[in-house]
């Protein structure tokens, strides 16, 4: 039986893993290679590496680190951040990434999803959306959650899936960093609209939040989190034990 995936996300800036609360006030956590190895050895089903560097120097440093990570770990690796062109796909895939996640790059140029899926296959293209409620409507935000694009979230995600995105990461800005649980309402809307895997992101504060997520939304395929894992508040093995005890299929 296929299992629910638990995915730690590593935001990388200038060669270090950082994690923001509500995308603001970044704090340094650890070395990307060490953290990746730790997670890979301790039950993570997949890793997401997000490059939040703005400079060209930072980008090439990120690419170097990515190669080191891919040499060290043997679980699927998704890379996002700064993906604007097919050349960017090529750059990170050559370093050992398995999937590439696009966010602002797809908003600026939606055909990027189509072009990349045609060359690398749908399974390689992940659409990542940062979504926030604005006057009761789910809106897609770009630039790390700073700018309202005006796009309605479910429509946008459906459009990307139609263009070839093989997986969706839905990050709720409303619940991100608050640690009060995943945004079940928002996730349900997206799960009902698409037939590709959906990864829930934003709001994980304890193991019970993951249990609730998979119980209430059996269509969700994976739960993603960062700080809760990075700071050791919850280990992946303890989380999986709890999920297993609650009848949720996990890889132990």
């Amino acid at each position: 039986m296929i299992t629910k995936r638990i995915i730690p996300c590593l935001d990388v800036k200038d060669g270090r893993v950082v994690k923001g609360v509500n995308f603001l006030g970044l704090s340094d956590v650890s070395s990307p290679v060490k953290l990746a190895k730790y997670y890979s050895d301790n039950g993570a089903d997949e890793l997401v590496f997000y490059d939040i560097t703005a400079s060209a120097e930072g980008r090439s440093l990120f690419t170097d680190i990515l190669c080191k990570v891919a040499e060290t770990i043997f679980i699927p690796l998704t890379v996002g951040g700064g993906i604007n062109t097919v050349e960017d796909f090529d750059r990170v895939l050559k370093c050992g990434a398995d999937k590439v996640s696009v966010n602002s790059g797809a908003i600026r140029n939606p055909s990027l999803v189509y072009e990349a899926a045609k060359i690398y296959g749908n399974q390689c293209v992940v659409i990542s959306a940062d979504v926030k409620r604005v006057d009761g409507v789910f809106r897609v935000f770009s630039k790390g959650g700073r700018e309202n694009t005006g796009l309605e979230a479910v429509e946008w995600i459906k459009r990307c899936v139609d263009m070839g995105a093989g997986e969706v990461v839905l990050n709720s800005i409303d619940t991100d960093g608050v640690k009060n649980g995943f945004d079940i309402e928002m996730l349900r809307k997206v799960c009902d609209a698409v037939n590709v895997p959906v990864i829930a992101s934003g709001g994980a504060g304890c193991a019970a939040h993951f249990t609730k997520l998979f119980k209430e939304l059996p269509k969700v395929d994976a739960g993603l989190a960062a700080s809760i894992f990075h700071f050791g508040e919850l280990t992946i093995s303890d989380l999986k034990k709890e999920l297993y005890a609650n009848g949720i299929p996990v890889r132990i």
Binding site: R5, S40, A70, F74, L93, C95, G121, Q123, R251
Partner: protein, 205 residues
């Protein structure tokens, strides 16, 4: 030495790193002279069957692989590389495979329940079939491996060494003589995957 065949399909970085991790000497190459000297051959592949099989035939690597199989040189096909071992595939038309494993490759949409997502992607457990295969020497029945595929090996019951359940049992691994194939990605399957690669490296001494 193990030759990982590079015929312009997919990224071989992780595969090479995973052999290094189990202490095996592996070379990524498309050159027949080097492949000829190898003790074992890895046939990787991601993407579409038709394109990959065309590349194998155009480069002459197809005959070469058939000869290697006849010489009882261990060969391991991975993901699309496993599918290429079959006689033919129905992925976008009909394409000829290497015919080293009896059976053909068909869309999983033909057999899985309609409410399941395609591709079959994620970690799934292996159900061993028949006698334990030498490539499973260091792993247990029920261990998890990582899959990403929309097509499956069909009509290959006699060579199936493991299946994975996705509504129905899907072919997860096959073998015939010294030819082996894994539908899943051992290089992305953590310790279990590395243990499979290690066991393959040890086949035939």
């Amino acid at each position: 030495m193990i030759a990982i065949i590079d015929y312009g399909v997919g990224n071989l970085f992780s595969l090479k790193s995973s052999f290094a991790a189990v202490g095996a000497d592996a070379i990524v190459t498309g050159e027949k002279d080097i492949i000829k000297k190898a003790d074992k051959i890895i046939l990787p592949g991601v993407g579409a069957f038709g394109d990959a099989s065309e590349k194998l035939y155009a480069s002459g690597l197809s005959d070469f692989l058939s000869e290697a199989a006849a010489d009882k040189k261990p060969i391991l096909g991975i993901c699309l590389g496993m599918q290429l071992l079959f006689e033919k595939s129905f992925e976008y038309g009909e394409h000829k495979g290497l015919g080293l494993i009896k059976g053909d490759v068909r869309p999983i949409s033909d057999i899985i329940p309609k409410d399941l997502k395609i591709p079959h992607m994620g970690w799934n457990s292996l159900d061993f079939c028949g006698e334990r295969s030498p490539i499973f020497k260091y792993i247990n029945n029920g261990d998890f491996v990582y899959f990403v595929h929309s097509y499956y090996g069909s009509g290959c019951k006699s060579s199936t060494i493991a299946t994975a359940s996705y509504g129905v049992p899907l072919t997860a691994a096959v073998s015939c003589g010294t030819v082996f194939g894994c539908q899943f990605h051992p290089e992305k399957s953590g310790k279990v995957g590395l243990a499979i690669l290690k066991a393959f490296c040890e086949i035939g001494g």
